[in-house]
């Protein structure tokens, strides 16, 4: 089982040492519906926790993706804008949007694990 972390804003994070792959949870994917557009940030950008790092647009709405932790954008999923169905894949297998180099890996502990996120979803629904 891959080690995923989640935010209250439904970002899904795959932790890979000092780097994290940031995508969105399947709950968020379902809520958004079919995507029509993804706007990616520039590589090299420094972000604080909660900063906008990407914009996802679906037929229903536009939503921001927020940085789950502070860090630096070290890669963006260039393939995503041309193949929006990639969002349905697991984060580390093509469903990622942004890869961050984490400034302080301790910050990751504050994110929810899968069980906590499941419980959170029950609470918000």
């Amino acid at each position: 089982m891959a080690d995923y972390k989640y935010t209250k804003d439904h970002e899904c994070v795959f932790v890979d040492g000092q780097d994290v792959w940031v995508g969105i949870s399947s709950y968020a994917r379902e809520a958004l519906g079919d995507l029509v557009y993804v706007e990616l940030p520039e590589v090299g950008k420094s972000v604080s926790q909660g900063d906008d790092i990407a914009v996802i647009e679906s037929v229903k709405t536009a939503a921001e993706v927020y940085a789950p932790v502070a860090g630096e954008v070290i890669a963006v999923n260039e393939a995503m804008p041309d193949d929006l169905d990639l969002i349905a894949k697991p984060v580390e297998q093509g469903g990622w949007i942004v890869k961050l180099k984490v400034a302080d890996s301790g910050a990751l502990d504050a994110l929810m694990n899968s069980a906590a996120y499941e419980a959170y979803l029950k609470e918000v629904d």
């Binding site: 809520a31 079919d34 029509v36 557009y37 647009e57 037929v59 229903k60 709405t61 929006l84």
Partner: protein, 509 residues
């Protein structure tokens, strides 16, 4: 057109334009019509005349040669594809699609209004200036905000004017370190967009729990980065909000904001619920825009230009844009920047959408103060009637009573695989323009229904019956049909994903 080209067009037509239905006409582009040898105007060929524009004769530009009846039919047929408040019920929440009284139109066509020019000497347009002066006074009276600028030409333009007024006040009072604007997460998208246009960053106030702003959530946002809220420039709030609910703690919230030195911008999109009942100044508003094309019945949605005057408190009035109309010994006059040195200046040429000012004033004067109050009451009553009748069939996220619009979601239909989009498409099948869907964003699958005072009880009952029927279809295992609607329209359900991902923006190569 060459023969091959014609064949290609016909084949294309077969594919995308299958048939006329009843008296519902398909219509091709003017360029696709067979070129008639009978153009509407018969001009002699310009043989032998010197060419005055450009030195070389240019190529054929292929303008279609059509007679006047062909052109008239083309545009009239296309106009039948439109749906407007003149066709039927138009419950588009937050947009206030109310009837545009024909009396307004009649008055706006008086020669003295329709044929004046903004550059005429003021002495020759005293009547027109008086209309604007009177409108300013009506708006000041109804909002409790004495400074009125009629120039902004749309709601969002009014928002920009209002927030620029706040920014101007802060700049001239040494408060430019204030960089944050607070806005609830249910706000219209134009609110945060406007704040950002004015150089602010936006801080969201969550409202998801109750659909309303709470003092607690507001305080948390106000003091988040400064214990005195000294980095907050202001707040943008729609009241009633986009869930159709009146903000009950707004007076206390506005007090705290003012104590922190911020200004309260009110988005006037939903003012039609309050006219004659509540003056926004009394719940702490410093500046707001008014959508004449919503609240005061001037046409919108393709029917005419919008108009978004702003109303300001005494304190902010000197900073608002110019011009404004004043009354002096000579009669009525416009004041520009030289008369109002602290004003942020002119937003656009001239005085705004004058024709809309005439219509709005005609609406106000024909209803009178008591009539305007009843308009608000009827709009609120109609929305509550719909809410109460549909509460058993659809999920009501925030208990009523509501104000002028009611909020439902697709939660009850979700298990049957039926979404808000399906419900909206089914309404089209039944001859209704859908309500606002997937807005506000605070909850999934929202449907925002605003009947306005325009609809009779019969018309509301028919709509309610249709909505109940759709809910029954969803739960009776008829969800397949609901995925297919609309069926009776010239175009079936469109592939919205493909249209957004791969838009075809050219008519032909």
């Amino acid at each position: 057109m060459s023969a091959e080209r014609q064949v290609a067009f016909d084949a294309e037509k077969e594919k995308v334009m299958p048939e006329n239905r009843g008296l519902h006409y398909e219509e091709n582009l003017l360029w696709e019509k067979e070129h008639s040898e009978h153009p509407g105007v018969d001009l002699p060929d310009a043989v032998g005349l010197p060419l005055r524009t450009g030195l070389a004769a240019r190529g054929e530009i292929g303008l279609p040669q059509l007679s006047e009846p062909q052109v008239v039919r083309h545009f009239v047929r296309m106009s039948t594809w439109n749906y407007s408040i003149d066709h039927g019920f138009f419950p588009l929440g937050s947009c206030t699609m109310k009837h545009n009284p024909r009396l307004n139109e009649k008055v706006a066509r008086f020669a003295g209004f329709a044929q004046v020019h903004p550059l005429q000497p003021e002495s020759s347009v005293q009547g027109a200036l008086r209309v604007q002066y009177e409108l300013q006074n009506w708006l000041a009276e109804l909002t409790g905000l004495p400074g009125v600028c009629l120039t902004p030409s749309a709601g969002a333009h009014g928002e920009l004017a209002g927030m620029m007024t706040i920014a101007r006040a802060h700049a001239l009072n040494g408060q430019d370190k204030r960089k944050i604007v607070l806005a609830p997460d249910s706000s219209h998208g134009t609110n945060p967009a406007t704040a950002v246009m004015c150089g602010y960053s936006v801080r969201n106030i969550p409202t998801k729990e109750t659909g309303r702003l709470t003092l607690e959530a507001f305080k948390a946002a106000l003091y988040e980065t400064d214990p005195e809220g000294a980095d907050v420039a202001g707040m943008m709030v729609t009241n009633p909000n986009t869930c159709g609910l009146f903000e009950r703690e707004i007076v206390e919230i506005a007090d705290l904001l003012h104590k922190a030195g911020g200004y309260f911008y009110c988005d006037g999109a939903n003012f039609n619920a309050l006219v004659g009942k509540v003056r926004p100044a009394d719940f702490g508003v410093d500046v707001m825009h008014i959508n004449l094309h919503k609240t005061f019945s001037t046409p919108h949605g393709g029917g005419g230009p919008g108009s978004g005057p702003i109303c300001c408190s005494e304190e902010l009035a000197k900073y608002m844009p110019v011009p404004t109309v004043v009354q002096n010994e000579q009669g009525y006059a416009l004041e520009w920047s030289e008369d109002r040195p602290e004003s942020l200046g002119a937003l656009k040429a001239y005085q705004g959408q004058f024709g809309m000012h005439v219509r709005a004033l005609a609406y106000m004067m024909s209803h009178g103060a008591d009539g305007l109050r009843q308009v608000s009451e009827d709009a609120v009553l109609n929305a509550n009637y719909i809410l109460s009748q549909l509460a058993g069939d659809y999920h009501v996220p925030f208990a009523g009573p509501c104000m002028h619009e009611c909020l439902l979601t697709d939660k009850k239909q979700k298990d049957a695989g039926v979404s808000t989009l399906d419900i909206a498409k089914a309404l089209i099948e039944h001859g209704y323009h859908p309500m606002t869907v997937y807005f506000p964003l605070v909850l999934p699958g929202t449907m925002l229904i605003e009947p306005t005072e325009t609809e009779s009880k019969d018309s509301l009952d028919r709509f309610i019956e249709t909505m109940k029927g759709i809910a029954r279809e969803a739960t009776d295992g008829e969800s397949e049909a609901l995925h297919a609607y609309p069926l009776s329209t010239p175009r079936r359900r469109l592939d919205e994903v493909k249209a957004a991902r791969q838009p075809v923006l050219k008519w032909a190569d």
